[in-house]
Symmetry: C2
Subunit: 186 residues, 2 copies
């Protein structure tokens, strides 16, 4: 049941339906990392729930790994039949920064809706494209935290299609410095 809800909740409509109709305690069980971001951090093109043009990815713990699923749109093409590498980089990037935030809360032993809010940006992104990723199927991302040290979290991500790992990423995430969000922007 959890697994099923978590899969469909990647779609904005279903996510909002769940948020509005489920009792708070039950909804908290299916909330994604990104659903906890404070509003001013929720406009990211890759993972912001408030960016209506964006990808709106959703990430969840599954034991010590975090997972995320995404079906590229028909126009996310590299060459016909295969997924655009920039989209793959974007998915890996945002799934990693979300995982970094969730891991930082875990490391502090507190829930993601507690204060102060923790949010991470990317310091460096590396992606190895191991084989072409077919377009038209669900992609699955699995991330593992490799290191947490101070404000830095290093996350490794595998991206799979039809059970085969097609891309592998490593993302160095750093906690957003205070005062970096422009008050009058966005």
């Amino acid at each position: 049941m959890y697994r099923r809800l978590h899969k469909v909740s990647g779609r904005p409509f279903v996510a909002s339906l769940l948020r509005e109709t489920l009792p708070r305690r039950v909804y908290n069980m299916v909330k994604a990392f990104q659903d906890y971001y404070p509003d001013q951090f929720a406009y990211c093109y890759g993972c912001g729930r408030l960016n209506e043009h964006g990808l709106q990815i959703k990430s969840y713990w599954q034991g010590d790994e975090s997972t995320c699923t995404f079906t590229p749109r028909p126009y996310h093409i590299a060459i016909p039949g295969y997924v655009y590498g920039g989209l793959i980089a974007s998915l890996i990037d945002c799934h990693a920064t979300g995982t970094a935030a969730a891991a930082a809360y875990r490391a502090e032993g507190r829930p993601m809706d507690s204060q102060p809010a923790l949010r991470f940006l990317t310091a460096s992104l590396h992606v190895d494209y191991l084989k072409p990723t077919p377009l038209g199927v669900l992609l699955e991302l699995r991330a593992r935290v490799q290191e947490i040290k101070g404000r830095k979290v290093v996350v490794a991500v595998d991206l799979s299609a039809q059970g085969q790992v097609t891309a592998r990423g490593q993302v160095v995430c750093v906690q957003i410095p205070e005062g970096m969000v422009l008050e009058n922007a966005g």
Copy 2:
């Protein structure tokens, strides 16, 4: 004049106007690397001139470096006021693969509209985000070929905003294997 045309031709409408109205010999002087891609390679979300949903970036030689300019859309946000890192990775990726193709033609001493067509995919992508990239201004990318060996071209890319380098990438590009384009896809 060349510089001015090259800047505006990043916009699809102007590019198509130029293509349709300029004499062939003059148009060839302002054609971008991506304008030479054969149709089946021109659907890439980042750089395909035939992908109407895509970024449609345009790259040009400027001496031994290649250049590309792009103004992110208002929704290409990381946090309000700053450009989304996945977009930056996408721009670096596609400018690098375009540069790799152009460099391979140069190395063979033949023009980009000669046969066989050369087109490159990304084997690995590395991006260091040096500082936040402001949203709402023109971004400039400059690429240098670091290595050409067999079917592999390594390209380094700097991305700047308002004269400051904000991100630095290295892309390992490989020539697309024959037979990789699915005949019935796309």
